[in-house]
Each structure stands twice: as structure tokens, then as C-alpha cells.
Symmetry: C2
């Protein structure tokens, strides 16, 4: 591992509400002089905005990182390598860098992919856990995701085979981008699950919307949506 | 919903390190005059100890709640009802109660089961999300639990059919109490997965131990252990 250089922290800031940031995440953002943050094509930096709600970042250097929503693995990998290279220049100058990431850093996290590149290049890295979107969504809905006798299955947005997922026993979490919701709602409807399933869009953000069932959804339902499909016995209990 | 009475909060305090408590969890524990906490047969209150590490609880009334490790659903339900009844007396007196729970309150959470009883009786309740043990374990191991193309499956301790779980594509999380680890390690070994799987016992506590593979485990490996079984491609990457 390289010495005399900065440490890279991948920091989970939770899904949207700055109140969900941990004391550790706040501490790390407080002592790191440089904050790296994903920036969308339209110039928004949502994870940075969450962090700003909890920690004074006015004296920090901000390194924006551009990621497209590329589907091909090779294109995504090229973006992680480019982001890692711009962070490596800061680390080489002896400064520690905290990269903010919505939700947790072990679940569908861009910051993890950047960390992985930096670690392979010999940099010291650390993961700082955050509240996952599905735990925050469960809290917003007032529901449990497991019981002692049934498992929980998490399906990231781009994971195929929804039919096979819905066959599994236990609760299913479907993490979806806004545009894919119509298709998911149709699949749930076909299986008679639209009334049992519930959804929260943009959890913790001012634009948050709660749908207690997946019927009659509007066209635009937020940038990110998390769908909870309960198991049979839980669905029955809900009624 | 009853009015003029206290609110019940189920508060996730994370898996062990007080630094993993959220700002919201700290706030709620700060303003609630009464804190309810699970107490083991040996008199320990681990969730309360975590909370004490982050919030001054010296002026709070503490309500200990006794739960056995009963396996039968009816016995467990009787314990939740008894705990809810002792909390209800405090709520009826107009005081809000925060019940602390290790990890998150939507994943295998006793506080959720108590909340469910109170809600059915008409009390106002709220869930406060926490860091899950498996996210903290992933951070300790420096690993991701998902990628965009593969799901994640969470198996609580008492969920049967390990063989079926290990057949699923994607990463598997097996949440185990210490005594069940030997059996789990043997099952992983039979399938040639013992070297790919890793485990953290007592994550975040002073007794934390990290096992990068599931071979040659000692007899006593902590009260709670979380095993991560990566998917094939991820196991290959790890080597």
C-alpha cells in the first residue's frame, strides 16, 4: 500500500434526508479537505446536497465526477477509471478524499466501483456504511422486510428476470429508476400482486411520494423508486 | 389513532459501533424521556450500550424488556405483547418512548414486532432506520454486496433451506447466531464455498473478529455472525 499519501473514503450518506447520515459519515466529511461527488448530465450533485444538509462543506474543495447512465459494463468501467485517476492526483498530493454516495456503499454504489480501482492501484481505502434506500423505504411505509422465517431478496435496477424474482419465497425489493416503473407495475399487475406491493419514490427528498399499492401510478414517479413486494402471509396481514 | 398520549419510536442504532448511529436516531433518543431496551437473560442490554456511546442517557428512564430466544412463534408473540403492554402504560401517561434495536428496524427487528402490537392497539408509532449488520460487515470486509447485474439475498438466522439459498444467483448474506456457525461452515465446505465465503463476528463491537474465509473457525466466534457468500464471478475477482 502506498504511504505518505491521502486516504480514500467511500461514504454512504443515506438515501436522501441528511438526518439519516451517520455520526461517522459526518466526521469523515468534516476532516477530509476534498470531497468528490457524482454529477449528473444536468449538473446536479444529489449526494453532495444531502451531505451539505448535515456538514458545513463551505471550505472544502469539491471534485465533481461525471457518470453517464451507460449500460455497457466496458463503458461504465472506463468512467470509474477516469474518476479514480482524477481522485488519485489529489491523493498523491497528500490530501484525503471522501467520495459521497447516496444510500450505502455496498449496495449498487458508484463510490465502491471507484474505490475498487484505487485499491488495485495501491491506495489506502475505507468504506463508511450508510442507510440503504430499502431500509428507509420500509420505515416510511411502516413495514418490516423480513421475519424470522422468511428471507429478503434485493434486485438492483438492471437485474433481469423479474418473473424468476417474484417466484422466490420471502419479501422482494425492486430498486428501479423512474422510467422502468411502468413495466414493473405491469408485471406485478399480471401476477395479481399490484395491490399487495407498495412503493416509495425519491425517499427522504422533498419530492418523496408514497404509493401504498402499485395501481394507477402517474406517468412521472421520481428519479428513483423502491418497490416492496411482500410475501403472501405478509400481504394478507396488510389487508 | 389515540391522541394526547406519547409516541412510540422503534430506533435502529446500527450493529455495534456508536459512530454508526444516525443523526435522526441520536435526536430521537435525545428528546424521548423514556428509553426501552431489550435485556438478555444474563442482564446485558447491548443496544442500550451502543446508544449510550452516542447520546447522554443519564437522565432518562430506562424500561428493560426481557426477550428469550424462543423459537416458537406463539411464545415470541406473547413476549412482544407483554413488552408492548409495559410500554403502553408509559405512553398512556403522555410520555414518548424510544425502543433501541441493534441494526435496522426493518430487518429481523424485535422493536418492529413490538411496534406492530402497539400500532394495532391504536398508538402512534414511527420507525427510525439504522445501519444494517450486513452493510457494516461489507464495509469491514471492503466488499460490495451487489453489482448492477446480480441480486442480493438476505437469510435471517432461523430461515431454513440453506441448500436452496446457495443455489440462487447473486450474493448471499447469512445472518447467524454464534452457535449455528459450525453447521453453516460445514454446508459451505461441502459445496466448495468455504474459501470464497467470509464472515464478521460481533461487527463493530470490541469483540469484532474478521474471517476472510470460512475454514478452520474457532469454537466460539461471537454472539452474532454475518456470513457473505459471493457469487462465482465475484469470488474469482477476490482471489
Amino acid at each position: 500500500m502506498k504511504t505518505g499519501i491521502g486516504m480514500f473514503y467511500a461514504v454512504g450518506v443515506g438515501p436522501g434526508d441528511p438526518a439519516w447520515m451517520t455520526r461517522q459519515a459526518c466526521d469523515v466529511l468534516g476532516f477530509c479537505p476534498v470531497i468528490a461527488a457524482p454529477r449528473s448530465a444536468s449538473g446536479e450533485m444529489p449526494a453532495l446536497e444531502v451531505a451539505r444538509g448535515a456538514v458545513d462543506l463551505s471550505r472544502k474543495s469539491i471534485v465533481p465526477l461525471k457518470f453517464t447512465a451507460a449500460r455497457a459494463r466496458s463503458a461504465r468501467n472506463a468512467e470509474y477509471v477516469r474518476a479514480a485517476s482524477s481522485i488519485a492526483r489529489v491523493l498523491d498530493a497528500g490530501l484525503s478524499v471522501a467520495m459521497v454516495n447516496l444510500g450505502d456503499v455496498s449496495i449498487c454504489a458508484t463510490a465502491y466501483d471507484v474505490l475498487d480501482v484505487l485499491r488495485r492501484r495501491g491506495y489506502a481505502t475505507q468504506m463508511i456504511p450508510g442507510i440503504t434506500s430499502f431500509c428507509a423505504v420500509a420505515a416510511a411505509l411502516g413495514t418490516s422486510l423480513t421475519d424470522r422465517d422468511s428471507p429478503l431478496h434485493i434486485y438492483p435496477d438492471e437485474t433481469g428476470n423479474l418473473d424468476m424474482a417474484l417466484e422466490l419465497s420471502g419479501t422482494k425489493v425492486l430498486m428501479k429508476s423512474g422510467k422502468a416503473i411502468g413495466e414493473t407495475a405491469a408485471a406485478l399487475s399480471c401476477r395479481g400482486l399490484a395491490k399487495e406491493a407498495s412503493m416509495v419514490a425519491d425517499c427522504g427528498l422533498p419530492s418523496q411520494r408514497i404509493f401504498s399499492e402499485m395501481t394507477d401510478l402517474p406517468e412521472n414517479v421520481g428519479v428513483s423508486s423502491t418497490v416492496i413486494v411482500p410475501e403472501g402471509h405478509r400481504a394478507a396481514r396488510k389487508k
